[in-house]
Symmetry: C2
């Protein structure tokens, strides 16, 4: 019997939505040859990661095994799947494979970071397969909310694994390949060891709707509008962008694309041939001469991002265009949890301008890109795997998906980031627990989420910061009084005099009473002065600030 094993390991994406990174390995334990599926990012927020630019999966485990990595495969061009390719390229230096549209986007990222574009290689759709050590890997077309999304068909000496990637079952997706149940049945007919499956919409009970269902309502809406129409959606949802543009065209409007991502995505889709027959567009600088009732803008910023086109229009002019009373703004999108306040801020700003805002509350103008529960069950029944491993979900999604799999007679495995699953043999088992986490891209530096840097920022934001400077002369006596600088704290507190004065007085008093032993000892001075500031501030303003003590010795 072989000692080789087939393993699955999520480094990101299983137990959270975002920063997808999955590893498959085959070989002797510890010596497996590895392939990586997706290298995505997640987005920071003020609550947990203020000042951070991007969140990457912690790929230390992969970096330590760089020699074992055969290749990286990218399922599709969403940021949470492709966003980290350039940031991790130096560390992994593995060839990257993707289909044409995805590769186009990935190469732009590589180029921006000064990496060779040809590190990203274009692969055709199934039945083409790429050899990666013991693996043969194919890109099986699948429908989603971006062109050329693919499921990975991963053949190993221990059998076939299907990694769904993000998907919905859309047989009329408008742009890109429809879901083809017969092709899928054929690919899976000889048995599938494991289906590793998207779980995003596991709690949605009705079958998903096709992209084709919303065009008529959008057209009707635009035709009924009397002023300028502005619509936003994820720029990468090329089918939606096309639907919106065609609806605008049908209503006799000139189409204007606004926002960097909007232009980049349409450009990539046209370059790679996935988008054809896109209505002619007018440049923003020419749009000003078009009567506003004949204009339709397609803009970035469906999630309320502060710097996107939608937010700039909400604040005033963007590229010379501004909204007016009677205009219509359409969110052809769903608000991702956590972005509600940003989106609502924009809606209220438009309201102040007299703009009518239409969102997706009724499901008329948006459909999800992910498979709902009945669709998940349908795919599982087509693939009919021995084992189903849910991915792309928070813990609650994975757990529910496992329940469904078990309820349908499959073996569901709940494996979050770091839980290595051994798929060899008849029964999957957790083989190892790997330490995983998050890496922050912070400015130009990658730091560990647990390094304390961001924790200190959060503390300063919650508590303010006091800096105390003391100069000690060459006889270890204080030279003059200590002084304070405060940042992020009220100027005055309960005693109605300046907080800085109160702190300095208390510090001076304490220093005056401190013994020679304390004055000679930096650690003791530091502790003592800190305690004084925190207690004094607590009395004055009711909070204990962060404190930095700077002791300068002239000796």
């Amino acid at each position: 019997m072989s000692n080789d094993r087939l393993i699955y390991l999520a480094l990101g994406g299983a137990g959270e939505i975002g920063m997808n990174c999955y590893v498959y390995g085959y070989g002797r334990p510890g010596k497996e040859r590895l392939i990586v599926v997706d290298l995505g990012v997640a987005f920071p927020d003020m609550d947990t990661s203020p000042g951070v630019d991007l969140i990457l999966p912690d790929i230390s485990w992969l970096i330590e095994r760089r020699d074992q990595i055969e290749a990286v495969f990218i399922t599709h061009a969403h940021e949470d799947h492709v966003g980290a390719v350039a940031h991790t390229y130096e560390q992994l230096k593995a060839p990257i494979y993707a289909r044409a549209f995805t590769a186009n986007i990935a190469r732009r990222k590589m180029d921006e970071h000064g990496h060779p574009k040809d590190a990203v290689q274009v692969v055709s759709a199934w039945p083409e397969q790429v050899q990666g050590g013991p693996f043969s890997v194919g890109f099986l077309p699948m429908s989603h909310s971006i062109p050329e999304s693919s499921s990975m068909v991963i053949d190993s000496p221990d059998g076939r694994v299907v990694h769904s990637g993000d998907f919905k079952l859309d047989e009329t997706p408008l742009v890109g390949e429809p879901f083809d149940p017969e092709l899928w049945a054929d690919v899976c007919k000889d048995g599938v060891k494991a289906l590793v499956c998207d779980s995003t919409n596991v709690f949605s009970r009705n079958p998903g709707r096709s992209e084709a269902t919303i065009g008529p309502d959008i057209t009707k809406l635009i035709q009924s509008a009397s002023g300028m129409v502005v619509a936003t959606t994820f720029a990468s949802n090329v089918a939606r962008v096309k639907t919106l543009a065609e609806a605008g065209e049908r209503a006799g409007r000139s189409i204007v694309l606004m926002g960097r991502a909007m232009k980049r995505m349409v450009e990539a889709a046209i370059e790679t041939g996935v988008l054809t027959d896109f209505p002619p567009v007018v440049q923003p600088e020419d749009a000003r001469s078009v009567p506003r009732e004949n204009l339709m803008l397609l803009v970035t910023g469906s999630q309320g991002e502060r710097r996107a086109a939608s937010a700039q229009l909400a604040r005033g002019k963007y590229q010379g265009i501004e909204m007016k009373e009677g205009d219509l703004f359409l969110f052809s999108s769903k608000t991702i949890p956590g972005n509600e306040k940003g989106v609502i801020r924009i809606i209220n700003a438009f309201s102040e301008q007299g703009v009518d805002v239409v969102d997706d509350n009724d499901g008329l103008y948006h459909v999800s890109g992910h498979a709902n529960r009945p669709d998940l069950e349908r795919l599982a029944s087509i693939v009919n795997p021995q084992v189903l491993i849910p991915m792309h979900g928070e813990h609650r999604h994975l757990r529910e998906h496992v329940k469904i799999a078990n309820g349908n007679g499959m073996t569901g495995v709940l494996a979050v980031n770091g839980m290595m699953v051994d798929l060899s043999g008849n029964q999957p088992k957790i083989a190892e627990y790997i330490e995983t986490g998050r890496t922050y891209l912070d400015g130009t530096v990658q730091i560990g989420a647990m390094d304390g840097v961001v924790r200190d920022r959060i503390r300063m934001a919650l508590n303010g910061h006091v800096v105390v400077t003391v100069i000690m002369d060459d006889e270890d006596e204080p030279l003059g009084d200590p002084w304070c600088e405060v940042m992020g704290l009220p100027e005055t507190g309960s005693s109605k005099t300046s907080l800085v004065d109160v702190l300095e007085a208390d510090l001076g008093q304490w220093l005056g009473r401190a013994g020679a032993k304390t004055l000679r000892d930096d650690a003791k001075l530091n502790d003592g002065l800190k305690r004084v500031v925190r207690q004094s501030a607590l009395n004055e303003i009711g909070r204990k600030p962060e404190v930095t003590i700077v002791v300068s010795r002239l000796s």
Copy 2:
């Protein structure tokens, strides 16, 4: 003709949801006698107000006119209506009127802050009226999600104004008075000058459902549970707490109340007689001896608050009780926008414990406390006011509500915080624009939202903080090298050596080259050193930090 006028002015709550504070005045312009309706708070968040404890309306306008204030009326005991009574009492020193349950809660707040409880006076329901200068004010019972909610009937020499407060039209609210359309018709039969009206649910198109409709589904759910059941809702929703407790009792479970607010609210409701026949409760310390399948906990924390009972159970033990696989957790509540991530965090933590979480996705276990669009229309048709002024809503809500009013043949007035409406004469008009804003309760200090304190905290959180200390000798020459303390920044950057070392070297170099004029001038030194740090950090770590320069002169 009289020179007196009747005015309406929102200082909080019109253009936002939260910190309600409305003013009515009657008299000669600038000399009006004033009454205040509600003194509420809003809640801070990390994005806009890190470290802040509570947000109060800026009542400077009222403080400047303290002598003109006759009284404060509180419509109901939700924090966004009563939360600021104690924080503003010293500044206003006006008598506060409320019905018994609301007064009970308000008095607890006054007591906690060392203010006299009897500043809060209990008023009976309509037809009792309180005289406040030229006003006679009555508490007209109205249904909402807390006992004894009332609309204010405000009689002035210029006619009757009805201030709805928060409301829904519930004729079977289970606890508290049902909405009584006949009483309302009678109150309004002689004509109403203005209806100032809740707008929260203006976008909800179906009629609201009664509190009585959800009991059966909740009972069914609890009866089907095999482990311990834990349910959360707003503690102040006494009717819901009772519904949940009765459902638990019916399922043969002992009821345990957990969380400070839960106990306080039930206590206040029993003390004031609005809650009767509440099932017997078991103390948390006794609950451990009850088999878990016979337990039902009612806990605080429906919005994912980190310190509430639900979050503590999600993290582990709370008061000796912990959740286990097979237990059920019910959110009998709606998540307020902005709280999604906190709630989801708890759901995932329960998922990791194997607990089944049920929320309100299907509307089976929660109904809103606010009137939907058809209910707003129904109330307006009963009141039949000359003017409708929407309140308690963001701009988008107010605007939509005005549209509905105008569509129904009324005169709708869009007046956000600070827009004083003159209701005298036949046509309402905006009489003045008052500066309004937010006051932060920060520790024990009240600071203005625009004072820069919180802005500095946000900057430190986004950019980190570098503190530079330089000592200048008595000849204005640097004594030794400058040194840096950094907080919230990566330790190393592009040059792979310590960031502090790089910054100190660059600062030293700059100082070495600085001329005598610069070295003598604190402002120039400060600017120069700051620029060095920001540029050097940008090169090293790709970001410009906040910088504090401390120059100590021995001269």
